[in-house]
């Protein structure tokens, strides 16, 4: 059994979760408990496939990098649109966040799976694979990674999305922790009235953080769709990854830098059957329960310890209305 290979699979499994949780962290830091993230991930991913497919079918010799660019633009636009729906309903129209989020997940996963499931029928094409684009995504940025031994296999065998995920996580961490923007965003999520009084535009911060978070989460779907599944969408296989990403947010106590490690750990648990000896197809389902169990335990212990820094943002889930009286 090649240990390095297994770890590289764990990393690959973790990447959608990393994108997803990173997006959710930005949402939650602004006070939006966006339960629509799973829906955004699915439609963001399928939008990428649709874009690449349309492009690859439009030209006899598709260029993988054009395909990559097209799929990214499609994914971003789709995630942005869904995030805007959420923002408009919860921030501008002050609809209940939980209800809106769940409606968005119903809509988003429906939209994604609708196009993802019947793509060739809808587009009227026979060829439903995107080999050039998928290859562009999969191309390792470090061509000599196999010379770096195990480390190379684990970390550098991945395509560009790996680096994007890590970069976004680290940038998010840096921005939240070290910049004025991050400070303002944290204040908005903790206490919007105070942020407002300090001259921070609460609505704008909520919109920007939520939309940016949505786009990042959509990248998780995109990676899964075009890289991990080679551009072939199966309506069943994305499964609970969206919710796992939400769980990961709690697991890493709202810290994007920890999310990197957490995502790979969750990813590893997802494929535990490969490396844990003696797992049957039944007990492997129990193994997949672990991330949720661990998350629940974290939720309980952080509530028990009452350490303020590890609690959810104080205004999470609550709408803000200045002229409330």
């Amino acid at each position: 059994m090649d240990f390095a290979y297994i770890l590289s699979r764990a990393v690959a499994q973790g990447l959608p979760l990393l994108f997803g949780s990173n997006g959710e962290i930005l949402n939650e830091k602004s006070g939006n408990l966006n339960l629509g993230i799973p829906g955004i991930m699915i439609s963001g991913g399928v939008a990428g496939i649709v874009g690449a497919l349309v492009y690859e079918n439009s030209t006899p010799n598709p260029n993988g990098f054009v395909g990559l660019l097209v799929s990214m633009i499609c994914s971003v636009s789709c995630s942005l649109l869904l995030s805007l729906i959420y923002c408009f309903l919860t921030v501008t129209l002050r609809a209940n966040q939980n209800v809106t989020g769940l409606a968005l997940t119903i809509f988003g996963s429906g939209l994604g799976n609708f196009y993802g499931g019947s793509i060739s029928t809808i587009l009227g094409i026979t060829n439903n694979s995107i080999p050039a684009t998928a290859a562009a995504y999969k191309m390792p940025l470090v061509p000599f990674y196999d010379k770096l031994g195990a480390i190379g296999t684990i970390f550098f065998s991945h395509g560009c999305m790996f680096y994007i995920a890590i970069a976004i996580a680290l940038i998010s961490w840096y921005v939240l922790k070290k910049t004025r923007t991050g400070l303002s965003l944290r204040a908005v999520g903790e206490n919007p009235a105070t942020a407002d009084a300090a001259g921070i535009n609460v609505t704008r911060y909520k919109y920007v953080a939520t939309c940016l978070g949505g786009v990042i989460a959509g990248f998780g779907g995109l990676y899964y769709a075009v890289d991990y599944s080679n551009g072939l969408w199966d309506t069943q296989s994305f499964g609970d990854r969206g919710w796992l990403a939400v769980a990961l947010v709690i697991f890493v106590v709202w810290k994007p830098n920890l999310a990197v490690l957490g995502a790979f750990l969750f990813g590893g648990l997802y494929i535990a059957e490969i490396f844990v000896p003696g797992l049957t197809s039944a007990t492997k389902e129990i193994f997949k329960m672990l991330p949720y169990i661990v998350t629940i335990i974290i939720l309980i212990t952080t509530s028990l310890m009452k350490k303020k820094e590890n609690q959810p943002p104080a205004s999470l889930g609550l709408p803000y209305f200045r002229e409330e009286r």
Binding site: G117, S118, I293
Partner: protein, 364 residues
């Protein structure tokens, strides 16, 4: 002398103090009409014009009510959703965000199956009784766990119940593999016993009756019982509850037990009345949809009959159109999602009033 006004925003939003029942009903009905129109447009768009605008509605009606069998299925689906929405109502009334109906119903269904697997030889009536008890207890347990931690240490219930869903799903998947027909099939064979007797010529006849009875009972419980009153007080203000001597923790745990138990009951009905097996998607996301259904009905169980019917109708109607256009039935989720967005948005106009500032315009 006219006092010149200061510059101010063009649009301001203020909370409504008074709203006539007529106007709020008008806004609601209007939003449903707009939602239906929007759904039609969406269908027009995603079917790529394979079907005309007028046909969309006739096809939807056809799909939901075309034959006696279709009507029964519409009623069945409405009730399946309704049961979970009703189960959630007491928890939401307490401002406890139980997102875990899916899991609570699932463990209920699982418990029923375990009972059948353990003692298949019991007389059916007795077996059904044991299944019922097992499901209700399992569902209640799944509700009480997050309820207890919310009461004791204020653990965020939204996230907790959400996680519990997936613990339940994995648990079911585990048992399904244990029981699967043949290795790798991923589904279990249908149970041969533990079925509710037929009523109205269908297996799920009794389910419908039970759910409607539960709906009415739940309405009465929330509106007229002492416990229902306690739930309302705790939901509004825990301080008030303490002030008058309500044991808040007890109410939270008890209400979550009730909410979970009713979800468990829904699971029992799914197994004994409809599917006769358990699978991880047996609840089919209804646990989540029910949250929206309950919310849109303002947590009134009787209104939930209408809201769950509305959602089920859209779902079934769209599925009919999708199948006639040779598309997959995820189209239903798209349409339901759009309708929900519009109705959620309409709530804003019931709660708030938008003031367009004419003076500001004139001033310039």
């Amino acid at each position: 002398m006219k006092v010149k006004t200061a510059k101010e925003p063009m649009i301001r939003i203020a909370k409504r103090t008074e709203l006539s029942t007529g106007l709020s009903m008008g806004i609601r009905v209007g939003s449903i009409v707009i939602a239906l129109l929007a759904c039609g447009l969406v269908l027009l768009l995603i079917t790529n014009g394979k079907i005309s605008f007028g046909d969309i509605y006739s096809q939807m009606l056809e799909g939901a009510f075309g034959t006696a069998r279709r009507i029964k299925i519409t009623v069945r689906d409405t009730c399946a959703l309704l049961c979970l929405a009703v189960a959630l109502a007491p928890a939401f009334k307490m401002r406890f965000w139980n997102i875990g109906a899916e899991g609570q119903a699932l463990v209920g269904a699982l418990a029923s199956c375990i009972v059948v697997k353990l003692c298949p030889d019991l007389p059916v009536a007795l077996l059904l009784l044991v299944m019922f008890i097992a499901s209700v207890v399992a569902g209640a347990l799944w509700g009480v766990i997050p309820g207890y931690f919310k009461a004791k240490i204020k653990a965020n219930e939204t996230l907790f119940t959400l996680m519990m869903n997936y613990v339940a799903i994995q648990l079911v998947k585990f048992f399904v593999v244990l029981w699967e027909k043949q290795k790798g099939a991923g589904v279990m064979s249908t149970l041969t016993t533990g079925k509710l007797p037929q009523l109205f010529g269908v297996d799920y006849g009794w389910s419908i009756v039970i759910i409607l009875v539960i709906t009415v009972l739940s309405y009465v419980y929330m509106k007229y019982s002492k416990q229902g009153y306690e739930i309302a007080v705790v939901g509004e203000s825990e301080n008030t509850a303490r002030y008058i001597g309500i044991n808040v923790n007890k109410v939270i745990v008890r209400t979550m037990a009730i909410s979970g138990a009713l979800c468990g009951l829904a699971g029992f009905l799914l197994v004994s009345g409809t599917h006769h097996l358990v699978k991880s998607d047996i609840v089919g996301g209804n646990g989540f949809t029910a949250i929206i259904v309950a919310w849109l009905a303002k947590l009134n169980p009787l209104t939930m009959i209408l809201t769950s019917f509305f959602v089920s109708f859209l779902d079934i109607g769209t599925a009919k159109i999708a199948s006639s256009c040779n598309l997959n039935d995820f189209a239903s989720d798209v349409v339901v999602g759009v309708a929900l967005f519009i109705i959620l948005a309409s709530e804003f106009f019931i709660n708030y009033r938008v003031i367009f500032n004419k003076r500001a315009k004139e001033g310039k």
